[in-house]
């Protein structure tokens, strides 16, 4: 579906005041994701709880998306510089988190 079609559809729905606030949509996603997290994480074997913590570190560094947007403008001001620092901090975690997780997981071997 093209963007124009989509916004047309949204426009019509809004006229009928049937569109929920974007916050409510986000909140729905948030609650559903907590349920997914609950079920997925209880299935993680206790032996892998340390890799779970290091990989979740990498995953929460998805805030790099916000950092890139913050550091995105060419004009250098407080907002851009803070964004760029945040890009660096999140990168430490993304690379560090995934690589140390991989290093740990490679150690778990079966009896030969």
């Amino acid at each position: 579906m093209s963007d124009t079609l989509m916004s047309d559809a949204v426009g019509h729905a809004a006229q009928a005041s049937q569109v929920a606030d974007p916050f409510v949509m986000s909140f729905s996603v948030f609650i559903l994701a907590i349920f997914i997290g609950y079920h997925v994480v209880w299935n993680v074997t206790p032996a892998l709880h340390t890799p779970l913590m290091s990989v979740t570190n990498a995953i929460s560094s998805i805030v790099i998306v916000g950092a890139i947007i913050a550091g995105g403008p060419l004009e250098m001001n407080l907002a851009t510089v803070l964004g760029l620092i945040a890009v660096g901090l999140a990168s430490v975690n993304i690379f560090g988190g995934f690589m140390v997780t991989q290093r740990m997981l490679a150690m778990f071997k079966k009896r030969s």
Partner: protein, 466 residues
Amino acid sequence: MLSANMVALAYLVASVLIILALKGLASPESSRRGNTFGMVGLFIAVVVTLQLSSVQNYAWIFAAIAVGGLIGAVTAKKVPMTHMPQTVAFMHALVGLAAVFIAVSAFANPVGYGIADATGSLHVASRIELFLGTFIGAITFTASLIAFGKLHGSLSGSPVTFAGQHLINLLLGIVMITAGVMFCIEPSWTPFLIMLAIAMLLGVLLIIPIGGADMPVIVSMLNSYSGWAAAGIGFTLGNNMLIIAGALVGSSGAILSYIMCKAMNRSLFNVLLGGFGGDAPAAAAGGAREDRPFKSGAAEDAAFLLQNARSVVIVPGYGLAVARAQHALKEVVDILLKQGVQVKFAIHPVAGRMPGHMNVLLAEADVPYDIVHEMDEINPEFADTDVVLVIGANDVTNPSAKTDPTSPIYGMPILEVSKAAHVLVIKRSLSVGYAGLDNDLFYMDKTMMIFDDAKKACESLIQVLD
């Protein structure tokens, strides 16, 4: 440039890959593929964000990614497995700080974030989201730094308590929330910075009263906070991928905190109140134990028992890691396996300094994961076990947790080693464990104490067994 719908769909793919990364951790076989899914997910997220029309500052962004990535990669390659708890704590601090910087940046340039109305001032919903994101990020940042210091040993692990501590925290909390409410009514820098400063101070004050050995709970809790901080940024940006990833991490950390609390038979509230694990109870328990008889033996006696056993269960504790004895212990295990003895490991959930830490330390020493068992799996087997070898563990084997209702650890789930035919305990002295309690196990008829450093004891065992 991708259309807005394409961007949203690409973010959806990334979200699914992130869920699969966690799902993979259900077993060691699927975990490595899961980790790859996670990497691809984050890669898609970053690439899609980079091609947004508002993102132009490529040189600086790539420089930041390169510098950060290099630091992360080198750390990941070099960090010793015994240092994983403080490494993870430090990474939580980075997520918290990044969240704070993004929130400050968004407040400084709300138009660039698309969170301003026509007059250039912030939407009310965005004000609330910024308030929540900033203070969760700030608390995560400083609290994780203190947790890092305690775990790394650069700060004392003993709890710091003073009169009126909880009252001060409460007052600070009220001031912080008041500043936050003022910010939501009329956004300006003064209440924002007051809120930020108090949140950072609270992060420090909330963690200093908590003892070093309670850190597994705290690290898990901060893991959870870092997720909520990410979700908070997601709400500010209206980005579902960040909300999903943040919620996954948030619930993961919460579940780990719950598991750790349950394994210590304590409530999260009790841990957070702090003050547990000081020196006072250890000194108090010192008097009574002098006159109780116990048996002690040498490496030869231990080797004799082990060699003639049909089945051996090894109970490792954090003392094993402190003595760096994992590799020597693995050699002992190899010799016993070769001699036809069935050997298993029993892991208590709080055996290390973070959830699952002992499993990683054993895996690093090449102990195959299919002979390493969790508490609930192995407890029914102790009655059929000939010899249990306890090495560097104490409170988690104390039978009074089951038998003595007056014991402070009564009700805590333990490894029921006292049900085995013989128990060997390698320990430097009869000193008390973290809970400050004497361990009845040491004085049982079936127990033989081997007073030595864990590594030296394993090395002597290797010599005698070979």
